[in-house]
């Protein structure tokens, strides 16, 4: 991990194989816990995609965002259970319309 310090927050760069994560935290945040947060996010990605690799994230960037939004809101962790975040995404995926449904349903 490398870090650099700006006046109001620090940047931490944990590295997972060829992926670099960049995380900005504030003065009062626990730096060591931040590493755990990033690790947990990687675990969630792994659970959702099944053996996640770089290409999964590149081609499904919007899913990566959705998973992040189930894990963190406004900079704070919202759920500490590994299962529930992924379950919420999977349920939401089910809610997404199929192509036919999408074409036939009125927008407004």
């Amino acid at each position: 991990v490398c870090s650099c310090s700006l006046s109001c927050f620090c940047l931490y760069f944990p590295r997972y194989a060829s992926l670099y994560f960049c995380c900005a935290i504030e003065d009062q945040d626990n730096e060591l816990l931040t590493l755990e947060v990033v690790h947990r996010y990687v675990e969630l990605l792994d659970r959702y995609f099944g053996n996640v690799c770089e290409l999964d994230i590149i081609f499904n960037f919007e899913k990566a965002y959705f998973i992040l939004d189930e894990f963190i809101i406004g900079g704070e962790v919202q759920d500490t259970s590994k299962r529930s975040a992924v379950k919420a995404i999977e349920d939401s995926d089910m809610l997404q319309e199929t192509v036919e449904e999408y074409m036939n349903k009125p927008a407004f």
């Binding site: 626990n30 060591l32 999408y102 407004f108």
Partner: protein, 816 residues
């Protein structure tokens, strides 16, 4: 028109681009297609197009023309649209675009949607990027959702509430009723977010803080259950149950226990338990330990617990993981002022960190090492620090050199050692020494009268080999000019005197003058030195005259002026020359504008009050409160009532008298804090350099830093009256609202006298845009350790605030 290409197709295409230009071309083409599709108001493909736009935005290309389209997607009934629409809103919109306000109605509707995942999307978006207007409009909806039994929504609503409070602090009250049962939840997500919400409320409002103190037993229980419970696969991280929740609870406990005896007492056991039982083999255990240490240091914990905490930090220092070492050094730096002795025990480990490979660790270790230098360990520490100076990166050398000078000045065991240390710094890091160090060093040398011969000899030898390091050459030139006669007469007692002739001395000074490496200032020093030698040397006066006259036509104006004046000295004022060039007298250390008298006003009243009341006798609580008022100049009419409802009404007053009572009885400075004296807050700002006031000699301190109000003390000593210390306070305000009617009051122990001059104003503007300055004069005839109790009252965010604090971290130079 053919259907727009799919997202994944686009991604694949862009990835085949081999150059930046190729990629740019592809993207421009696609953006044009998307733009025309938007213009056609196509409902079917809007979602796909926005998704592609977001990908291109991620790559760094402009995507602002998609903002309105995101809004249309959010308003759509289709879930797929909403998902992408909200994502787009979070990525492309923020407070600066007026467009974002159009979202408010959609979010309001979606917050009441029948599907929880839609509600979730709305809460998430509001919680991440809601502006203050949006938050004001939608706070009611969020509050409703905070009370729902659906834990999926409740946890999101809690974090949304946190965001609302951050944006519009006045709305905090609104969420208070909903927090009643939050901690009774079993769901870890709701628990975690509730703790975050409670933390945010307590950090922002002392009233909330007082209100929530009663939750301490419940929090302790939850934490205990987490530690004792068996393996839970859902929340387990390397054998530890829900570390995220544990850390957040510890942080909330820290805020609740600060400055509060009862709460701190209630937490002692659990903190000790966590500190001793947590597994340290993985990072997660260390994360919890780290938070525990921070909490222990910040609340009013027993000394045994504090020592335990510092020992944990000491163990961290030995860890292989450099993140943990870094975190430990940062924390130790914060605690070294208050728990000096405990940190001293780990000195050798800290000094070893000077040899670490990582730059940030080295810097922390250096700062900490300087903080740990004292009279006993100065020789050993200096050896290590000088070695560090030799081998460290250039960016450290200036700070290290300054630090060494400061420490040497304070703790030098002998003058010879002092001079040797200075010499060593000048020769190893001579070009990195700060400019203001040169006059300080010169003064130091002048005052060490018996060392003159030794000093000049060593300096001469140093520049013989190499005269490129300017500060070294400047000091050396000055000394040779002053003490050149001692040099040639070979009078040195400390070491083997060297044989030097007058010509050789003049050779070296002339080389300095001629050298291209010499700065203008240095040349000035050299020329003046040569001139001074005209009265100290006997054989070479003619040579000196010649050199001086040559420089009378120098291009450098400064040198020319000097040379011309010296020439005149030779020609017309030769009779005055010996007197003018006499040896410099011992210099007084000059401090900037110290006061000459102390007018005793507040001071007198204090002493009078204390002398009429014997300490520790059975006083009524009411009169104790009145004593506090007298001591502090008594602006309030009502007695001081602290915000904690459970403690005695005038305990604040009692504490102050206890503090002063202790000092009356013992007479000598109290070294270890007695249990009832409050611990100073855990200084949060570790990025300030320790030595930012080298020229004045006394480091400034941060005396108070809480709730956005920061008070710094800077010191000056009077040069006519050594018992007087002048403290200038600067109060600054980092919150978003001004602090008005600010009143600063102070009380000092009996042996001191205090005078408070008028402040510069009574309003501290927000966002650190201005400060209030006030001068305090302290008379300390017995040179006792300076302690001070301060009371702050001000209006902030419409409510009256008041706080008492003790300032214990006065640097020794301010009172010795």
């Amino acid at each position: 028109m053919p259907a727009p290409i799919r997202l994944r197709e686009l991604i694949r295409t862009i990835r085949t681009a081999r150059t930046q230009a190729e990629e740019r071309e592809m993207i421009q083409k696609e953006c044009a297609a998307i733009r025309s599709s938007f213009r056609e108001e196509d409902n079917t493909y809007r979602c796909r197009n926005v998704a592609k736009l977001l990908y291109m935005h991620m790559l760094g290309y402009p995507a602002h023309f998609g903002q309105l389209e995101c809004l249309k997607l959010i308003a759509s009934q289709k879930f797929t649209d909403k998902r992408i629409g909200y994502l787009g809103a979070m990525l492309l919109l923020d407070e600066r675009q007026d467009v974002h306000l159009l979202m408010t109605n959609c979010i309001k509707n979606d917050l009441n949607h029948s599907t929880q995942y839609v509600q979730g999307l709305a809460l998430c978006t509001l919680g991440c990027m809601g502006s203050s207007e949006m938050c004001r409009d939608l706070a009611g909806e969020v509050e409703k959702l905070l009370k729902t039994s659906n834990s999926y929504l409740r946890k999101k609503a809690a974090l949304c509430a946190v965001h609302v409070i951050r944006k519009v602090p006045e709305l905090m009250e609104m969420f208070l009723p909903a927090t009643k049962n939050l901690l009774n939840e079993k769901n870890h997500g709701v628990l975690h977010t509730s703790v975050v919400l409670l933390t945010e409320m307590c950090e922002r409002s002392p009233d909330m803080l007082a209100h929530f103190r009663k939750l301490v037993p419940q929090l302790v229980r939850i934490l205990k259950n987490l530690i004792m419970s068996g393996y839970s696969p859902e929340h387990d991280v390397s054998g530890i149950s829900d570390p995220f929740l544990q850390v957040r609870i510890l942080r909330l406990l820290r805020i609740l226990g600060r400055n509060d005896d009862d709460s701190s007492e209630a937490m002692n056991d659990i903190l000790a338990q966590v500190a001793t039982n947590t597994e340290t083999s993985k990072n997660v255990g260390n994360a919890i330990l780290y938070e525990t240490v921070l909490t222990i240091m910040d609340i009013k914990s027993e000394s045994g617990l504090r020592v335990l905490a510092i020992n944990i930090l000491g163990r961290f220092l030995l860890n292989n993981d450099k993140n943990i070492r870094y975190v430990a050094l940062t924390s130790l730096l914060k605690t070294v002022q208050t728990d000096h002795n405990a940190v001293q025990r780990h000195r050798s480990t800290i000094v070893d960190c000077l040899k670490d490979l990582d730059v940030s660790i080295k810097r922390r270790a250096m700062e900490l090492s300087f903080a740990l230098v004292n009279g006993n360990n100065v020789r050993g520490m200096m050896k290590e620090l000088l070695y560090f100076l030799d081998s460290c990166e250039p960016e450290f050398k200036a700070d290290c050199a300054s630090g060494i000078f400061l420490a040497a000045e304070k703790y030098a065991p002998s003058k010879r050692w002092h001079i040797d240390t200075i010499m060593r710094v000048l020769t190893t890091a001579g070009s990195y020494v700060r400019d203001d160090a040169v006059p300080n060093l010169i003064q130091l040398i002048t005052n060490s009268v018996e060392m003159h011969a030794y000093t000049v000899q060593r300096l001469y030898k140093a520049i013989l080999g190499d005269y490129s390091q300017q500060p070294l050459v400047q000091v050396a030139s000055w000394c040779i000019g002053e003490y050149g006669d001692l040099l040639v007469s070979g009078q040195c007692e400390e070491e083997e005197p060297i044989q030097v002739t007058e010509d050789e001395v003049l050779d070296i000074l002339e080389s300095v003058l001629i050298s291209n490496m010499s700065a203008s200032v240095t040349r000035g020093y050299a020329l003046t030195a040569i001139m001074k030698l005209s009265t100290r040397f006997t054989c070479t006066v003619n040579r000196i005259k010649k050199v001086v006259s040559i420089y009378g036509s120098s291009i450098d104006v400064e040198l020319q002026q000097r040379a011309v004046e010296y020439n005149a000295l030779f020609k017309k004022y030769d009779h005055m020359r010996p007197a003018l060039l006499e040896r410099m007298p011992v210099m007084e250390k000059v401090t900037t504008n110290g006061p000459t008298e102390i007018v005793q006003t507040n001071g007198e009243t204090e002493t009078a009050v204390l002398e009429t009341k014997p300490p520790h006798s059975g006083l009524q609580p009411g009169s104790q409160a009145n004593d506090l008022l007298d001591l502090l100049g008594g602006n309030d009419i009502t007695p001081v009532i602290p915000t904690a409802p459970t403690s005695k009404p005038a305990s604040a007053g009692g504490e102050l008298l206890d503090l002063l009572g202790d000092l009356n009885l013992t007479g000598s400075p109290v070294s270890a804090p007695a249990p009832q004296i409050s611990q100073p807050p855990f200084l949060p700002d570790s990025s300030q350099p320790l030595f930012n006031d080298i020229a004045a000699g006394i480091p400034s301190i941060t005396a108070y830093n809480k709730n956005g109000l920061k008070i710094d003390f800077s010191f000056e000593r009077s040069n006519t009256n050594p018992s007087v210390t002048v403290i200038t306070i600067q109060a600054s305000n980092s919150t978003e609202l001004d602090m008005t009617d600010f009143v600063f009051q102070a009380a000092v122990p009996k042996t001191f006298q205090l005078q408070l001059l008028s402040p510069s104003s009574s309003v501290i503007p927000a966002f650190n845009s201005g400060t209030i300055t006030q001068v305090i004069k302290v008379l300390n005839p017995q040179k006792q350790q300076l302690r001070m109790r301060i009371k702050l009252t001000y209006n902030h965010k419409g409510s009256a605030m008041q706080d008492l604090a003790e300032v214990n971290n006065f640097p020794p130079q301010s009172w010795q």
